[in-house]
């Protein structure tokens, strides 16, 4: 449990891997290096893709609603880009409820449906400007609301009347502006999140901020596995003795439930890979465990179906909580991980 032990283990690991030509850190990883590795390897490029996809989606809706397939393609690209970064709670995404605005889910009270119905039924055009959308219920501001506009239960043909088209346009425009804000707040010179993490000036305060950043990012990674196993895989396939309930799964209307899980796991694997230089053994093990879970998901084997994927994700979660953080000298505690 002690830092000394984990350092010794790491030194042993480094000695073992030295033959492979991997860079050997002289001492315990600096929390700042951990935060930078994840930021540069996963978060910043992920937000760049997300902003581009949201911009394209807005452009698609601005073309009008004649070509539903084009709007669906834009939605799916945006949803793909979001699935690659949705687990991130650190930094600008946590301001102004941006994460919930982009994807309000789970939604057990059907707030998205209710909010959308209210918008559709509203007597005038008020509420349809992007800036007005941003002040309504967060449940109607994001991808789940667009999905409901674009997909009908049972796969029926979708007709987007002027009203629905205007709502979609407003939502897509609001999403684009959220994406641009997040990217800008990460990449602004000097004041941006990345610049702050890159700054090497050390004071007690910046050291605390670096540690806080690393802790949050590793917590985000561990939470990704909990969400994927418990909220996403469980309803889709039914585990722990419960029957499947596909309509409780994420994005079932657009048939994305499986795909989102895949993309979340790919994001987890990318995060693990970004840390291999800092914790060679544990980060590699995590990447391997995620790959195992992906294989299990693809084969959908096991008895009952889905259990192998569920179990695989739980094994990865164990490594992400118990092994990797300690190897990086940023241990996640029982209380800090999931407190109340």
């Amino acid at each position: 449990m002690t830092g000394g032990t984990s350092r010794m283990l790491r030194v042993a690991t480094i000695l073992g891997l030295g033959l492979l030509g991997l860079a050997a850190p002289a001492e315990a990883a600096d929390p700042r290096e951990v935060a930078l590795a994840i930021s540069q390897g996963v978060i910043v490029p992920g937000y760049r893709d997300l902003t581009a996809a949201f911009d394209r989606q807005r452009a698609a809706w601005e073309q009008g609603c004649g070509d539903v397939e084009a709007l669906r393609a834009a939605y799916n690209q945006a949803a793909d880009a979001w699935a690659a970064v949705e687990h991130v709670r650190f930094g600008p995404i946590s301001r102004e409820q941006r994460s919930e605005r982009i994807a309000f889910w789970p939604d057990p009270r059907n707030a998205t449906e209710r909010g959308l119905a209210a918008l559709i039924a509203a007597p005038d055009e008020s509420g349809l400007a992007a800036e007005r959308i941003s002040t309504t219920s967060v449940a109607v501001q994001g991808l789940p609301a667009l999905e409901r506009l674009l997909y009908r239960e049972g796969g029926g043909k979708v007709g987007l009347d002027d009203r629905r088209c205007a709502i979609g346009r407003a939502i897509s425009s609001n999403l684009a502006s959220i994406g641009q804000s997040v990217s800008a707040e990460w990449s602004a010179p000097r004041t941006g999140q990345l610049a702050q993490l890159e700054a090497t000036a050390t004071s007690a305060e910046t050291a605390a901020a670096d540690k806080s950043a690393a802790t949050q990012m590793l917590t985000d990674l561990a939470t990704l596995f909990m969400v994927v196993a418990d909220r996403k895989i469980a309803p889709l396939y039914g585990v722990k003795g419960k029957p499947p309930n596909p309509k409780a799964a994420e994005a079932w209307r657009s048939g994305r439930s499986r795909r989102n899980i895949d993309l979340n796991l790919k994001a987890a694997a990318a995060t693990a890979r970004s840390l291999v230089a800092l914790a060679p053994q544990e980060a590699s093990e995590l990447a391997r465990r995620v790959a195992d879970a992906e294989v299990a998901l693809a084969q959908n084997e096991g008895n009952p179906p889905g259990f192998a994927a569920f179990a695989g994700v739980k094994v990865a979660q164990y490594v992400a909580i118990q092994k990797l953080p300690e190897a990086l000298d940023v241990p996640l505690g029982f209380n800090s991980l999931d407190g109340d």
Partner: protein, 388 residues
Amino acid sequence: MAMTRRRVLALLGSTATVLAQARALVAEPFAGSMSSGGLDLGDDTCFAAFADKLSPDFGVGPVADGTDACWANIVETRLHGGAVRPRSHELVVVARRPGSCFLVIDARSGGLLRSVEASPGRHFYGHAVFSADGCWLFTTEADYEAGVGLIGVYDVTRGYSRTAEWASGGVGPHELVLTQDGGGLWVANGGVDTHPDGGRAMLNEGTLQSTLVRLDLSGKLAASYDLGPDLDTLSIRHIAVTPDGALVFGCQDQADVAAARPLVGVVSAAGRCEIVEAGRSVWPALNGYVGSVAVDSQGKYLAATSPRGNQVLFQAVAGGEQTSLIALQDVCGVAALSRPGAFLVTSGAGEIARVAVSAEGARITMRARANRRWDNHIIRASWGRAPI
């Protein structure tokens, strides 16, 4: 431990046995003995929920270093906070948010007296408090379809039957405590809306709107405080009263923790709600998260734990003296002990520490370790030293 588990399962399977035991115990005088292992808690006895380090089991037991064969109830549900009934050995522990039950346990033996399920359409938030006479239990609950916070009112003398529910004056009520005079309740409405089908996910469609509310014992709203627009991302979760009637509260920032917003405040006995003045480096060190608060027996010092900052903050309630931080990995549970300035803290790493706070600062005076991951809260018995 296996013995304990079998006993619990057997009791759970037999309502008749549970009821018989419950009747027998209500009338029984306080007797027996319990060792607190390697850590002397002085004149106090404390309990806490925990997770077993070696398995995914959860439980509740006395806070002790684990070398003794202290009772421990192992259950499948992760437990959270609770209370010991005044002048009794009934320990109530509530399942964590969104919880479906609370357990009534014999604090001498660990025997399960009763398991009370949430009413239809309701879930628990993890905390409970008894009235001063021990006749009523109050719990924080949600009407989860409506997304409305409630206080559940249970008649202890009639087998913990639920006799009423009151509006909590907000969303997501979390910890509740008795007012100093026992004539009312303080409720921390954390503002976080949850639904059992959404697990622990936050379902708010707008901003948090966390409030601190005082109710009288008929459920009527007596006072309500919020932290204003600058601090509207803070969820007020944990509270403790001082002997002179002030209230200390601890918050969790639901937004960007890098903003290092202040996390601890006091509502004075006169009703002024103020954030604690602390040194510049204090709030960043707590990393946007306070997990528990306590006030020492004299009402002079407050303690606030941060498992995300791995620190405990100690500070004079009235301000003026220097702030102290003690570093402890994954620390969360905290309770005041009888001795002035004395606190007990527990951590997810199994650590148990006594801390003495004075004008010179805070220092750990004794520490031990249990093979358990202590969960968020310590429940202190009001009957003093443990002769369970």
